[in-house]
C-alpha cells in the first residue's frame, strides 16, 4: 500500500455496522456486513471509533488520535501498519 502524499482516505462502516463487546484487553467485534468476528487490541478499537463513514487521511487520523490520547509513539508508519491490518480484515476501506 502506498502511503505517499496525498495518500488514501480511510473509511469505516456506518454507525450500526459493528457490534462491539469489550472483553478484557481484547474487544470482540461483530462486523455485520461481512458476518465475521474479530478480536481487537488497542489501538484498533480506538481507530475504528474515530474513523467514520466520511473517512480521514492518515495525517488527519493521527492528529485526532494525538488530540484524544497521549500517544506513546506518534509515527505515521506505526499507524499505517495498524490500518493495513484493519484494511485486510475488511473493517476499513480505502479510496
Amino acid at each position: 500500500m502506498d502511503h505517499a502524499a496525498p495518500g488514501p482516505i480511510y473509511r469505516a462502516d456506518p454507525p450500526g455496522g459493528l457490534v462491539v463487546v469489550p472483553l478484557d484487553a481484547f474487544t470482540a467485534v461483530y462486523h455485520r456486513r461481512s458476518g465475521m468476528t474479530h478480536l481487537l487490541t488497542e489501538p484498533a478499537p480506538q481507530i475504528l471509533a474515530i474513523l467514520g463513514e466520511a473517512g480521514l487521511s492518515l495525517k488527519a487520523l493521527l492528529d485526532q488520535l494525538a488530540g484524544d490520547y497521549d500517544l506513546a509513539d506518534a509515527t505515521a508508519s506505526a499507524l499505517a501498519a495498524r490500518l493495513d491490518e484493519l484494511v485486510a480484515a475488511g473493517l476499513v476501506a480505502t479510496s
Binding site: P22, F26, T37, Y69, D70, L71, T75
Partner: protein, 136 residues
C-alpha cells in the same frame, strides 16, 4: 491472551473520560485477529479420514524432502505412499514424532512435509485441517 486486566476506559468510547496513553505500534502482536470456522476439536467424533500422499490428482508423482510434488523418478525424492494414511496415524506423528507406518525417517519426514503443505481443494486437506488441534 493471558492478560486479564481490564482497561481503565471502555476501549471503543469515542471521548475518553481522561487522557490515557495509547500505543500505536504494539510490539509484534497483531491488533486484529479474525475468528475462523472450526471443526478441529470435534474431528475425532465426526470423522474417520484418510490422507493420500500425494493426492489422487497427482498420483505417480514423487515427493521431495521439502514435501513438494516433483516428477516421478526425481533423484533424492520419494515415490508416493502405497496406501493413504489414517488421520490418527498422521496425528500421532505430528504430536509426538515417530514415523508414519511403512516408512523410514527421511521418507516419513518428506511425507509429513507434504501433508503440512496441503491446501484447501487438495485431497486430504480437510482431514489434515481436522488434526490441527488447539492445545488445551
Amino acid at each position: 491472551m493471558s492478560d486479564d486486566t481490564r482497561p481503565d476506559t471502555d476501549p471503543i468510547e469515542t471521548t475518553p473520560s481522561r487522557r490515557r496513553v495509547l500505543t500505536l505500534g504494539a510490539v509484534g502482536a497483531a491488533a486484529v485477529v479474525s475468528i475462523r470456522p472450526a471443526l478441529a476439536q470435534t474431528a475425532g467424533s465426526v470423522l474417520n479420514c484418510d490422507i493420500p500422499v500425494p493426492d489422487a490428482g497427482r498420483a505417480g508423482s514423487f515427493i521431495d524432502a521439502q514435501g513438494k510434488i516433483v516428477p516421478s523418478g526425481t533423484k533424492g525424492a520419494f515415490a508416493g505412499a502405497s496406501r493413504p494414511f489414517k488421520g490418527e496415524e498422521v496425528r500421532r506423528v505430528l504430536n509426538s514424532g515417530g514415523q508414519l507406518p511403512g516408512t523410514d525417517s527421511e521418507r516419513s519426514r518428506a511425507y509429513v512435509n507434504y501433508i503440512r503443505r496441503l491446501q484447501r481443494g487438495q485431497g486430504g486437506f480437510t482431514c489434515f485441517a481436522s488434526l490441527q488441534m488447539p492445545r488445551g
